[in-house]
Symmetry: D3
Subunit: 336 residues, 6 copies
């Protein structure tokens, strides 16, 4: 099988243990995460050949970050070891009505300061079938946006499918360009996007048609009209009852049908971070393995639901586990 | 008070911390467990004199396993230290819709390879009032089944009450005999068994009478008819809402009355392993301390419910705590 | 802003990790707590200048206890280092129907054996605006009760507002006086008390008037009639569904209006200890920052609810976090 | 084999992890220790039947302490569960020139307040061959001293050998009697004592004869002259190069010969606490197993040396390991 | 007593546990450190009133860092909460021939980007008797160097004694000025400096006179000639036998006498970081408490030696402990 | 660069934390190791392309083991997932005179029961330059020995260099053949072996010539005479002063010159396991990077010495670190 390739920053995640607050913590647990790398980390665990492209500083922290993804089966040969520092994020895990809290410390990272010339996309993508990126990458720096644009261009040229989680992060976009100046051109190169109503408004100024009962259908239709390459738009609907209890379903529109999955109850949540990336990974897997769009979407949401029960950013649920959830077996009965 | 004696394999349990998956774990927590030893471990904690009979390898791991049960008050003098290895099981703890998962590594254990001649049951059972075994033991090996048969025979001869949790484990029974060839003769020696409908079918080919609304009553009646020594059959009804939330009640039929307990909500579950063994221990305690069958059964289920809030295989709930639950005080209000 | 001062014992809290029982624990987590110190610890975290008055043994354990509160911003200059030992309490954390359990080991502590002459209240309270104590302090020893009486007297003289959580603890009061002999005189010096119906009966022999539907209103009215200094009585209503799930609201009567807050669902509870102290701290903060009694009370309950999601005795919720809860934003959505 | 019985207080030991200071510690590791219980704990591990007599409070902490010794094979049936609190000691582990530091918190313990009538020594000692006590017990309280005297008296009457580690602890002896008033009568009942020159002076006012080159021989001779029951006096010589590096040898005088062992280098020390108790346990084992006094003494010191490499108070070295050291095999070569 | 004030960056220190390498670590232990803050942290522990001046980002990490120093008694009221990020350093702890390794991640920190106008030195230093800085501060950024110059100027004006550890760090000094351009003017304002031969050469181009046998005396004389305010120069001599074993002594020249201390063996080293800062703190304490220069210097080295046995950057040795070492009692014998 | 390939069993290593004994341990730390895999693990860390060939059970434990080596850069594509169980070894870490202790639990492992037909050596070795095996593999089972013979044969055919650490393990060789029956044929296929005098005697009945002063030279000459393919024999000389302190040097004879390295002091030892494998890995690296045999050998011993300061079986020292040791810089001075 040809590989799936992602591009984006990987940060060291330093989380206060259990539910402790930063001021209480005597140590911080280490894992690593990034919205794009999480997708291929999850896919590798599902048995798909994958590679991730990123930059790390040429120091022990960068090597450790690469080793983390290599452990889970991600090919690290296209990672570049240059630049000054590893981006970090600090995480405090909430419970009940107390929200989890992230303090980002990613300014000045090796990735933010990358040189687009470091990446030979023709070479990187030559054995790929799918390239995935997210709205975080072009939000980091002009050079990251440029590298992303290069990758999309080469992917299209080579016939590699392109997807994006458009994901608008308000507190990024500090480098002088706005999301509305940068993202539309990148989105235009995609075959598939993850995009909710709020993203459509924030990024594309597209709002639901007041006459259309299904707001997602409405924005999806408009987006596809504007960006003819896009054949399918998917997203999740999350009901956040508390930091410990969420409900989740997936929805999709692909110009032919509007699909919804069952709603999954997640209670308690072990780790909510990476839930969206697990959805995307599940969707890629589902698209590659099922002939039926409904199955692909349900696989994606079931994968995402299971991710919430797994610590750290990468989804370590297996195909048989996800398929049990798809079949409605959510009872969590002990497997001996 | 005369002692309660059990016979069966004890394994080292190695569990990934918190909800981590095996591939993530940097260490494994150690405890020990076995379906029969858990019963006497729990009984010792309730103040009943007990002894457990088993085999361990004559090495540091065997000594540590024995020490674990000795700590909780189990007499270890009839344990035999011979053979090659300690059986192990690896545990991953699920949450929400993700099931807990056990990887067994018990093949070739000292217990599996035991020689029935190592056990002088006349001596072992001479001060006993109750002998308990489970369907796991005869499933392990021919020699384990033989030792179990010996113990039952001697117990009956000495007037020691015999109970069994018949417990059919599909992935054991690898040694050339089937459950249906071996178990009926052993069950025939029991005064009391734990047996659910599925067990009755799997082990005894007994299915509920379609005309009888109460399926448990139906199978219990048939079992007792076939095995005249058996005076009472009990079991639990577990509703598995998720890996974190179960509901539990107990039922019993003793030829005179059919009993049920209230349903207990267990949310969240701290550790589900050993829940059935805690029920059996609670039932033995209850039978020895209450004149009333309903109280004995309710004590058993209350004990089992509390077990789910205690880490590791052995129930460390105390008599006063269990009696609070029996009285309906399940509010968990802080005890200062 | 002038400071808030509290007086009372601080104990080392030694808690078994996660949900383990004492007999299982290989280590005990350290924190420190005391019903009064928790109030100023929480207030310091909210940005209020505070000082706590207590006694510690002149040894490394006493210094560590003081350092703990100093870390959170509590002024420790009026702490006295004399006497024999640090009071301790051992905590086992329950779950579901299993209650958390405290074993106190505070007899003979430096605080219990204090000499009231060690405290120069004129000096201690000269920059204070508020003095808070609880019913635990006079329950510990005659000398502690005397020091408390001294503090109240000086506070009134200096125009410092006095509040108390009257908090009747049945297993204290071992020194020869009863709660009914000691507390009324101390309560008489208060401007504000936390007092539920049961406390009113246990301490003051005041019971709700059978003709009055609102029992709290009834006892509050009677208390205020008997103690004319008291202008407001507040308390919380806690519904204990399990050790893991409580519901909480606050109520108040201030001679003008009877107030209630919304009910907050707390599920799961991370640490229930100190919930009442967080309510009191929240109420002091609210009173000092809001013109509106309802806001002050809602802030107090919201603070208390959040405390249940924070480990250890001191509430480490921040003002913005509490205000989100006040506004009804209890969804716990991830803060990036 | 008949059993060895000891009598004395057991404390919970709470040690700051690794080399951290109390003020830094986020948790304290739990173990249990007592100068006499450590002797039988070690002996049990060496395969000798043993029992320890003590008092614990009738609470979860007392049960946990008993369970700890039961785990290692100590018979706990003569332990009494009465009284108020469990004695504690807090330990900080030094390194290099920084000494380890203990903060005792044992005042008012169940043991200190014991009633001598609780112990039926005729019954307790009926199957014993050896009774061992230390100078700590009579230093705790008058009632503890009385119980110790009772035990010695009954032991002599029953022909049970009596030994003591006379061990003068300056900061005990707070109850109104001095060591010199109490100890001589107790020592008079011993067959064997551990006693160094400083102890002889502090307790018995015996100082080495200036004309005798071997000061130990000198004081041992005088002690034996004064106490005719005493047939042998032993002790260790410890050279404390640093908290991490000690040298150790054993010496003995038994009216016939003066014996010395080789000097053992211990570097690094893992845990120095209980080193003397391991020596005593080793000496009892050695006396019971070797015909040769030199072997018994060397076994004792080798056992003590190995204890310094084992965490916690009880020596968990095995007979084969100790015998390797006796043979001079101190290279610590990996055992596969 | 008037306070000692320091100025400099504080970083979060994230250290891999035990001797693990970064790539192996599952978590990182948190402490905080900075060459100047460590001095006042240590002094606070010795009972000296102190304040530290720094900048932190206005986020939870900054608050936690401040709380850490507040815990140990450092006044944090002059800390400024502005700017983007907290400087970090990652530490791997070596052993034997493997060196400990630090990865700095301090670029772009709140401190590096400080505005000198944020600090009102007249106010900050008004109750001070001593101001201490190090060569790290002016190496960080032009604005940090400016603030340091401001502080020195005001200190001199107010008659506050000024000291510096001149400490040349080759991999700082990235902002366009060299150490030789900046440091001489700052050194000129000092009364006392820590300066070794290599520093004198790197910073001041001063090399020992080839005719002078005592190279330290030679460079100290030249430095004092060039900077007439400087009355004393001190330093340590460290012999690094391995990462686990160092020898240390102190030397001083004060225009009157050349002093040396005994050499202290440190084996094993628990934590070498902050050893020089502990020396400086010890010297300040010694100068304030002893009339004798030799005692002050010996106290300083004894303090530093003990620091190597304490985890984290701040020296938590006490005055009595240090005085024991001064007296030559380095045997580390257990303190009960 | 062409890759280095190894073949052999990988076990899960479960080690008691710090210096605790098995009976004390509450958890076991996980790592993985195998005499051959450790070589390629170390080489991968040094930047050499490598692959390891082995069998794992097709379960979560097997996947975790593979992931561990993949993390460090070992190609896992030729690993086979078949069979019943993962081999384990339990490790207790000694100190001072107490030896570390291993309890093996590898019987019945997937590797022991492998089918030689699972491995297509032509394919596996087609891009290799070096194949390394050890005497452990043929000691495990007849099929493992056969697979090893196959690999050696194919390697020779393809011109791949073959090396072996002949390593006689007395307690393996349980399958009916002796070391002397099996090993000579395998050794005959090697270009290079690690072999000490004792191995030569145990495996080949070769003893040093009494007339030859250099016993290693003597046995090496005889071995090479008997096995003409062997061009070089190397080994280490280890002086085991204690479990914490060893001295190490390397020696070599290659028909032209006899070489020795300096002796390295290792004190304290962090983890001795894998020291020999690190030597072999260092020698392979050295041979591939240095033209000089002395440098290759010194690199190997320096690498091995550093391994002793690194936890777990795989050497995580880097090339620059090893080269510092080669240059004699063993002071362990802090690297900032």
């Amino acid at each position: 099988m040809k590989k799936v390739v992602t591009f984006g920053e990987i940060m060291m995640r330093l989380s206060a243990p259990l539910n402790s607050r930063f001021i209480q913590a005597g140590h911080l647990n280490i894992t690593y995460g990034g919205g794009e790398a999480n997708v291929v980390g999850s896919l590798a665990h599902l048995g798909i050949p994958v590679s991730h492209v990123t930059c790390f500083p040429d120091n022990d922290l960068g090597y450790a970050a690469a080793a983390f993804y290599r452990k889970y089966g991600v090919d690290t040969k296209d990672m570049v070891f240059k630049g000054d520092r590893l981006g970090l994020y600090f995480l405090e895990v909430g419970a009940s009505m107390r929200a989890s809290k992230i303090v980002y410390d990613r300014a000045g990272s090796a990735f933010a300061n990358l040189d687009p010339a470091w990446f030979n996309w023709e070479e990187i993508l030559k054995d790929a079938q799918w390239f995935h990126w997210t709205g975080i990458t072009p939000a980091i720096s002009a050079s990251a946006a440029q590298a992303c644009a290069d990758a999309i261009r080469v992917a299209r040229k080579l016939g590699v499918k392109v997807s994006a989680d458009v994901n608008y992060r308000r507190n990024l976009w500090q480098y002088g360009k706005t999301v509305k100046e940068v993202m539309p051109d990148l989105i235009a190169g995609c075959d598939l996007i993850v995009c909710a109503e709020q993203d459509a408004e924030d990024i594309l100024d597209i709002v639901p048609d007041a006459n259309e009962a299904n707001s997602f259908f409405s924005i999806a239709s408009q987006v596809m009209k504007r960006f003819p390459n896009i054949k399918q738009i998917i997203t999740t609907r999350r009901e956040t009852l508390s930091a410990s209890y969420n409900k989740l379903k997936g929805i999709s529109y692909d110009q032919k049908e509007y699909l919804e999955t069952p709603v999954y109850d997640i209670n308690p949540i072990v780790d909510r971070i990476g839930g969206g990336d697990a959805f995307m990974a599940g969707f890629i897997y589902g698209t590659l393995h099922y002939t039926n769009g409904q199955d692909a979407l349900t696989f994606a949401v079931a994968a995402s639901a299971l991710k919430h029960t797994v610590e750290a950013d990468v989804n370590l649920a297996t195909v048989p586990e996800i398929e049990q959830i798809m079949k409605g077996n959510t009872s969590g009965r002990l497997v001996r």
